[in-house]
Subunit: 146 residues, 2 copies
DNA sequence: CTTGAAGCTATAGTTGCTAGAGACATTAGC
DNA sequence: GCTAATGTCTCTAGCAACTATAGCTTCAAG
């Protein structure tokens, strides 16, 4: 049996994060020791490693919740899991495209900066005037995690 | 003079977001009409467009705060602005590298899925066992906005 | 003059954690 | 056996960067 600290160390997840996952129902409530400390077995470790790995791959907690409930029913068809993974892949591809455009624009910006006064600075100037941009990097369509 | 709605429409920023920017001090407090409604001039529009553009390029509000105060002092040297832009470029490049690795892993995952039962699903299996991965996509080093 | 859109304030919710306070449990060294 | 150092407990609040809601007032068109 593992205490929460050992579990976290083995799975690569911080202790408060584990408690948070329990709180939102991603992990089942752990058994407790005589002194009220959480104790975990191998199954909990596997489940937490699954979550950690999926987070590393950028899945949201909501998607992970679905994937976990799928993995809890091994007899069901796997189309749903496949769909979640494909959606995540599509999301990653959209972000890649967007970041590539941003990179190009930022490069243009810093390359043009010749290092004089702010009044002559291309960085400030370009930020103030979108028409100086080459690509259309508007409409952020959510850039967030991850 | 523009009402907050017109300003938002012109700059491509939602009305509550403008009020939020004012609240956190990114925009100065706007003048008010007789009926206590905010009124904006050309300068406010330029400043908001600057913010919007920088957000589109992924700068944090904190970085934008710095860029704005730089642009308010046009006689200062522009190294600071350049540094902020370069830092943002480096950040974008790190995210690109990471997303590229994620994309490869996700592709491997979905390609291997043959569509049977969950018990045989590669997606679930790979998520449960990191050693099945080809790349080391661990240590997220903050994937967040944008 | 009325109606509907747009504005106002203030508060709470989102995602995925992270940090802190103050109290109890466990373990290592002596 | 004792003490000190960790580790764990609960609870609350905070982060970014907004978004949404409620309940009100003001404005512009017909």
């Amino acid at each position: 049996m593992l205490t929460i600290g050992k579990l976290g160390a083995q799975a690569g997840v911080k202790v408060p994060t584990i408690r948070y996952y329990e709180q939102i129902g991603l992990l089942p409530e752990a058994g407790r020791s005589a002194g009220n400390q959480r104790l975990y077995g191998r199954k909990a470790l596997e489940r937490l490693a699954f979550i950690r790995h999926a987070r590393d791959l950028g899945f949201t907690l909501e998607a992970i919740r679905d994937l976990l409930s799928l993995s809890d029913n091994p007899e069901q068809p796997c189309v749903a899991a496949d769909a979640i993974a494909r959606a995540q892949l599509a999301e990653v591809e959209r972000r890649l495209a967007r970041l590539t455009a941003l990179k190009a624009e930022l490069e243009r910006m810093v390359v043009q900066c010749v290092g004089g006064k702010i009044a002559d600075c291309r960085v400030i100037e370009v930020l103030g005037d979108h028409s100086l941009c080459s690509t259309d990097h508007r409409h952020p369509e959510s850039e967030s995690s991850p």
